[in-house]
């Protein structure tokens, strides 16, 4: 019995250490944004300041990077949502054998390393004279973000009752109308959630984007370059803002997801 108690105590310590491991690096990075020290750190604490936030705010290159990332993210979501939904619908309508082959092909971008997607996209489009830039970033990111949309829409489709469609058809609705008035509203939560996920995946992508960016500098590239060329706590200030925004977004996404899968445990 006492051995059991010791074991439990040790495990509680391990849990605490795990939580600390998850959050300490992020906390230290965020705290360093308020330190006057020119190199971002928390020890020694040279004085508390908000100057790094104004330095970040005044950085034109940062705004340019943010703008680039925002444009890319909106375009990616605009392409990935309809294609991903179409893929989910096609896949769920296929017969068993064709479905497993099609499925393997359609999830293959998720099993491909990100750098390879960037490289192959860059090579293909050079043949038609398109070099790295916004267009290629969107194309390369969409290639795999479609998979996420597809998987999320498919999860929702599994619980769709096809008799609703038949009922609507029986009442004289056209097939296009059934899609628009019955299926789309049913998919709405999944579409919202996957739209959010698409934007997030796009903004945070680095490995794929790096190869197809051309002369563009999206936010992740901007931050990674800063680390090499001279890191100041202004980058930490930016990081803190992004973390705050992501956490708020994550909570909103989680709420949407919970509403979508109400009381259905994931197996």
């Amino acid at each position: 019995m006492t051995a059991d108690r010791i074991f439990r105590g040790l495990f509680a310590l391990y849990l605490l250490a795990f939580v600390a491991y998850l959050f300490a690096p992020l906390a230290i990075m965020s705290a360093a944004a308020f330190n006057t020290s020119r190199f971002p750190t928390v020890i020694p604490w040279q004085g508390t300041t908000l100057d790094w936030f104004s330095a970040m705010w005044a950085d034109a290159a940062m705004w340019q990077a943010l703008w680039t990332s925002a444009i890319v993210a909106v375009l990616v979501a605009a392409v990935a949502l309809p294609v991903g939904t179409a893929a989910a619908l096609v896949l769920t309508t296929l017969h068993a054998r064709a479905r497993s082959v099609a499925y393997a092909v359609m999830v293959s971008p998720l099993l491909t390393p990100g750098v390879v997607i960037g490289i192959s996209t860059l090579i293909l489009w050079r043949q038609v004279g398109v070099g790295g830039g916004i267009v290629l970033i969107v194309v390369a990111q969409t290639t795999f973000i479609i998979c996420y949309v597809m998987l999320m829409v498919m999860a929702r489709l599994q619980r769709f009752d096809r008799t609703q469609e038949e009922a609507a058809l029986g009442l004289g609705a056209s097939r296009a109308m059934v899609f628009r008035r019955v299926l789309l509203p049913f998919l709405r939560p999944a579409l919202l959630a996957s739209g959010g996920l698409a934007v997030l995946q796009s903004v945070e992508n680095y490995n794929t984007t790096l190869f197809v960016r051309g002369f563009e500098t999206p936010l992740t590239v901007f931050i990674a370059t800063k680390v090499r060329t001279g890191l100041t706590p202004a980058v930490n200030a930016l990081a803190l803002v992004i973390i705050a925004a992501t956490v708020i977004g994550a909570i909103a996404w989680e709420i949407a997801r919970r509403r979508q899968v109400t009381a259905r445990p994931r197996s």
Partner: protein, 293 residues
């Protein structure tokens, strides 16, 4: 196919099919085929393209096999990625077990939130956090010096830093599949094992791990693949002595100016990753359908 047309009518069905076909043909299939083509051709000046020299050969792949430094980095990337997967597994398994079998519903929802939040923050920032933590005059060294654990600051940047950053970056990809697998284990099996006299270690080895096999395989495969294809962690946390294979590929494209060789290297990485994924899944008898969730 006929079902699709019957269900949505000719107009919509055609739109859906064309969207999917364009995606698969132009964005998934064509780029990979073109990359293979590039990998097999020599790097020639524009004037000689299509000339007698412009034929398929394995020269670029053989170059990798014969170039000692690159070959060493390639193998190091593979085993280091496997090590990342193993370390992540060791860190995650107890937590996943606790979440799936021991935590109360309240604890579970807090735990899920806590593990998910860091992973909504992008990989570059997570790596930057480790860059700051591990800096030569950074917090970790300062704390260890103060506690008297070390007498001199340690240079964490290098292989150790890369490992730490990667394990941190991929925890969720390991934790969730294992958690999902253990969750479906019936609690009475654990109790039965206990009643029959099995200790903690034995219960895990003979009951929990076999049951969670699929989840463990999935987590390991994903972690391995993400680690092998990562660029940001080695670039930020590595040192010149700890180069990663992706960095070599990058250099062929943007510094060496030899896209053909770069394509061959990227292809090698892709083939290796797919082989590892497929072999592992086959060994553990996991279906691809169960993987991507």
């Amino acid at each position: 196919m006929r079902d699709l047309y019957r269900r949505f009518g000719p107009g919509l069905a055609t739109v859906f099919l064309s969207l999917v076909l364009i995606w698969l043909a132009a964005m998934v299939l064509a780029p990979n085929l073109m990359m293979i083509d590039y990998a097999l051709r020599p790097n020639l000046p524009p004037a000689e393209l299509g000339g007698p020299q412009d034929v398929w050969s394995l020269d670029n792949v053989l170059y990798l096999a014969n170039e000692g430094v690159h070959r060493a980095i390639f193998f190091k990337t593979i085993w280091a990625s496997a090590l990342v997967a193993l370390l992540t597994l060791i860190v995650c398994y107890p937590i996943a077990f606790w979440m799936a079998q021991r935590a109360t519903p309240g604890q579970l929802s807090i735990a899920l939130m806590l593990v998910i939040i860091p992973f909504f923050i992008n990989e570059v920032l997570r790596t930057l956090a480790w860059f700051i933590l591990l800096a030569y005059r950074g917090p970790l060294n300062a704390v260890l010096l103060n506690m008297g654990v070390i007498d001199q600051p340690v240079r964490w940047q290098g292989d150790g830093g890369v490992l730490a950053g990667m394990v941190y970056a991929y925890i969720l990809f390991m934790l969730l599949p294992i958690y999902n697998a253990i969750e479906s284990l019936d609690r009475s099996q654990l109790e039965a094992a206990r009643d029959l006299g099995a200790g903690t270690v034995r219960t895990h080895r003979r009951v929990v791990v076999p049951h969670a096999k699929a989840g463990i395989a999935t987590g390991c495969v994903f972690t391995f693949m993400l680690a092998a294809g990562s660029y940001v962690a080695p670039a930020l946390l590595g040192s010149p002595g700890s180069r990663w294979f992706t960095e070599i590929i990058y250099n062929w494209f943007f510094e060496g100016g030899d896209w053909n060789r770069g394509a061959a290297y990227a292809l090698t990485l892709l083939v290796l990753c797919l082989a590892v994924v497929l072999v592992t899944l086959r060994l553990f008898r996991v279906n691809l359908t169960d993987v991507a969730k």
